[in-house]
Amino acid sequence: MWAFLVRRLSLTLVTLWGLTLITFLIVHIAPGDPARTAAGPQARQEQVEQIRKLYGLDQPLWVQYARYMGRLIRGDFGVSLWYKRPVSVELKTYLIPTLELAFCAAVLLICLGFPLGILSAIHRNSVLDHAVRLFALTGVSFPIFLLGLILQLVFYRALGWFPAGGRISPFVSPPQTITGFYIVDALLTGNWRALASALHHLALPAVTLAYGSAAVVSRMTRSCFLEVLGEEYIQTARAKGMPERIILLRHALRNALIPIITATALQIGSLLSGVLLVEVIFSWPGLGTYAYTSAVVLDVNAIMAITIVTALIYIGINLLADVLYAIIDPRIQYT
């Protein structure tokens, strides 16, 4: 197992290096002058040149890349051409809200997708099964943008239960920063008002983000469960008079989990791509908004940093899934 982990981590480093190279080339070869964009449309040529020199954009591409990698190894993402601040500072500001939202959506996805899939499989062709099918159908067919707007119309405009956007009410001071995660910080500092506001603001975007993925996971869980329930060892267990609950949880669930975990890991990864739209609809100050602005203004260092961090998260989730396989199914051995 450890050998596997070391090998996977080494491969991750190679993947990341390849990623930096490709992204660096794309960003620099793509049409557009980062210095001109950073200087602004009305900037004079000398101002553009000043920025080009300041950020080392006047150097040959390979020199720029070597310098970038040198800084990256030391954990320095460079300075944002657009915001004129260290990218790491900006990244932390925008990444944490995204992680908070994605984490809550992932929890919702698991809490909704698994049980609904299992219930649907157990009560196959019942009203409950049809209801879950409808849930899944709407989940996969509703565009995330539309779903967000509908939820806002219903739960903000019509019922007034939840706010339409933002991470915390502008009338509530954010909790004192310890981790940057509002919910954690509010809990740690006992700031109940901030906690309430943060949870309140999190509800609709998290549901919007999780809905489609939960639908996929519920269908996947259902089909895997049904497959396992038809296996002979389940029939044997039933014939022996084993309680149904134990059959389901101890025998069926564990055997059905491998493909479900794969699907869930992929869905959690895909939350990161869905988060962009959700952030726009719910004015969530996250990585999506930051990525969009950086791409539009060709903020080279910011684009690189966002790509690397997103890739790291994606790789991390998949690695976790691989490790989970081995824990769940002792037959799987990594060498």
Binding site: G32, Q42, A43, K84, G166, L195
Partner: protein, 531 residues
């Protein structure tokens, strides 16, 4: 087992309790009625008044910083702000400003002539963003505590207009800057903080969410008789226009800056919402490549100008949210040439001109480029495409993101430029020369600046050069009027429209006055809430 069930049940109840108690806590009364909430789309990249050059910063800069002079509410005339009066030397090269006394910065320090010199020196030293407007400044001298003198390299007739513009002109507290200077002129600190003398002081910027401003009790104009002025101003960043509308209708924001044309029509039916729509000074043009390809021929350019259906453009493409331009400079500004004809579609004239140019049946293809995100420019392109097809000309519409578009345009060779570029222009200050010089003087050809059509007329160059240093307002105006006539006759481009600025607000917001030049800004000191 029972124990497990109890635990599960207990946990569920706890969650519900947290939710409901939390909801209750959040809905505790807050001073909402004393707060003005403004929803807008984009946040600025930096709050540094010496560096920032984006429309997104206007709302906060206008509230927190003050300038020596400003544009009077609702007009383009300049009035005193931190300067009480001023004098200009006969040669127009020395400007002396007599400053207001008893003004305090938000950090408690006193405003004086040294602060003015410090602020402008900082902008010139940094040489970023808006610095180009101050390039004619040679030296700034502090005559006494409340008198400051600007010596210019050459006469600069629009200097007062430049000083009234929002970018780079706000006076910042030198004490605050020096306290946070780490060899960068406090750029890092000022990018997230503001210390000015304005009616509202900066409280916090939660990135991507909001900026909060608070009434500055020691503001020099005083607050007597203005008890209803908002104590707090929250600028909320809401990217999605549909959500801005929802928040406005729900009463969670008082002013929404980005209402879509469709929602605008719906909001007209809401009696509690006031809609204000005014033409802006933003101008949209179709810039011709006057140096290469078929559009190098003036007759072809004139034919294309005659082919466009201007009435349909305003009515159908822009749904009435724009006014047609008259000539190449901002309509309504002093020295705008009101005698130039309003453009109309005339396909017969277009055919005749094309025949004269040797293209009786068209037979060529032109490239039309515009920046992504500007749907109006795409639709104008489609409108022109339909008209030109009748003349046998094909129009190839190309949409590019801004960096890519500029990459195409910042090339010195006209042969590599598209035939037509749809682009917009925001003036920094209310002077027609701010349109004419950058876009039509031949010194501004790519890759240097904005004369992206390679237009050149020696007489236009000469008149613009003279207008730049002409201190007699009437003579200067005459030259600028002639320049506009020449540009029209040369068909350097097609001036299209001034988009309107749309501001939607709850009926309890009072005192709002639209500013044609600080378009996105608010004279918050004159505003109040009457619920």
């Amino acid at each position: 087992m029972n124990c497990k069930r109890c635990c599960t049940f207990g946990f569920a109840v706890l969650l519900l309790l947290v939710g409901f108690v939390g909801w209750g806590l959040e809905s505790q009364p807050v001073p909402r009625e004393e707060t003005l909430v403004i929803a807008t789309g984009l946040q600025p990249s930096t709050l540094d008044i010496g560096v920032c050059y984006e429309a997104a910063s206007i709302n906060v800069f206008l509230a927190v910083y003050e300038r020596l002079v400003r544009y009077a509410p609702g007009s383009t005339s300049v009035e005193p702000e931190l300067a009480e009066s001023w004098q200009v030397s006969p040669d127009g090269k020395v400007w002396t400003f007599y400053l207001r006394q008893g003004v305090k910065f938000h950090d408690g320090t006193a405003f004086n002539a040294a602060a003015v010199k410090f602020s402008f020196d900082r902008v010139l030293e940094l040489n970023l963003g808006p610095a180009w407007m101050f390039a004619p400044i040679e030296q700034i001298d502090v005559i006494d505590d409340y008198t400051v003198q600007f010596s210019l390299k050459h006469p600069y007739p629009e200097f007062l207009q430049v000083l009234a513009n929002i970018f780079g002109t706000g006076i910042v507290s030198p004490t605050a800057v020096l306290e946070h200077d780490v060899g960068d002129f406090a750029q890092a600190w000022l990018s997230e903080n503001m210390v000015g003398t304005g009616p509202y002081r900066f409280v916090e910027w939660v990135k991507g969410q909001h900026i909060i401003l608070e009434r500055f009790d020691e503001y020099w104009r005083g607050w007597k008789g203005r008890e209803k002025a908002p104590k707090r101003v929250v600028i909320r960043y809401v990217l999605e226009p549909a959500v801005q509308r929802l928040l406005l209708e729900g009463g969670d924001v008082d002013i929404a800056m980005n209402i879509s044309p469709d929602d605008w029509e719906v909001l007209k039916l809401n009696p509690h919402i006031r809609l204000i729509e005014e033409p802006s000074l933003h101008a949209t043009y179709l810039r011709f490549n006057t140096a290469a390809g078929p559009t190098a021929d003036r007759r072809v350019r004139e034919a294309i100008r005659a082919a466009l259906d201007y009435e349909a453009m305003i009515k159908n493409v822009l749904l009435g949210h724009a006014i047609q331009m008259q000539g190449s400079a901002g309509k309504g500004l002093p020295c705008h040439n009101d005698k130039l004809p309003m453009l109309k579609q005339d396909l017969d004239l277009a055919r005749r001109l094309l025949a004269e140019a040797g293209y009786p049946y068209g037979g060529f293809t032109l490239e039309y480029m515009f920046e992504s995100g500007h749907d109006d420019r795409r639709m104008v392109g489609e409108l022109l495409q339909a008209s030109l097809r009748k003349l046998g000309i094909e129009l190839k519409i190309i949409e590019l993101p801004w960096p890519s578009l500029w990459d195409r345009l910042c090339v010195a060779s006209p042969e590599e430029h598209p035939a037509i570029v749809a682009n917009g222009w925001w003036p920094d200050y209310a002077d027609v020369i701010n349109y004419l010089y950058p876009m039509y003087h031949s010194s501004q050809w790519p890759p240097v600046a904005f004369n992206i059509g390679f237009y050149k007329n020696p007489l236009v160059d000469q008149l613009l050069d003279q207008a730049q240093v002409e201190t007699d307002p009437e003579l200067r105006c005459q030259k600028l009027l002639t320049v506009q006539e020449l540009i029209y006759a040369d068909v350097a481009d097609i001036p299209l429209y001034h988009l309107t600025t749309r501001v939607a607000m709850r009926d309890w917001v009072k005192g709002y006055v639209y500013s044609p030049i600080y378009t996105e800004g608010f004279y918050l000191y004159d505003m109040w809430i009457d619920r």
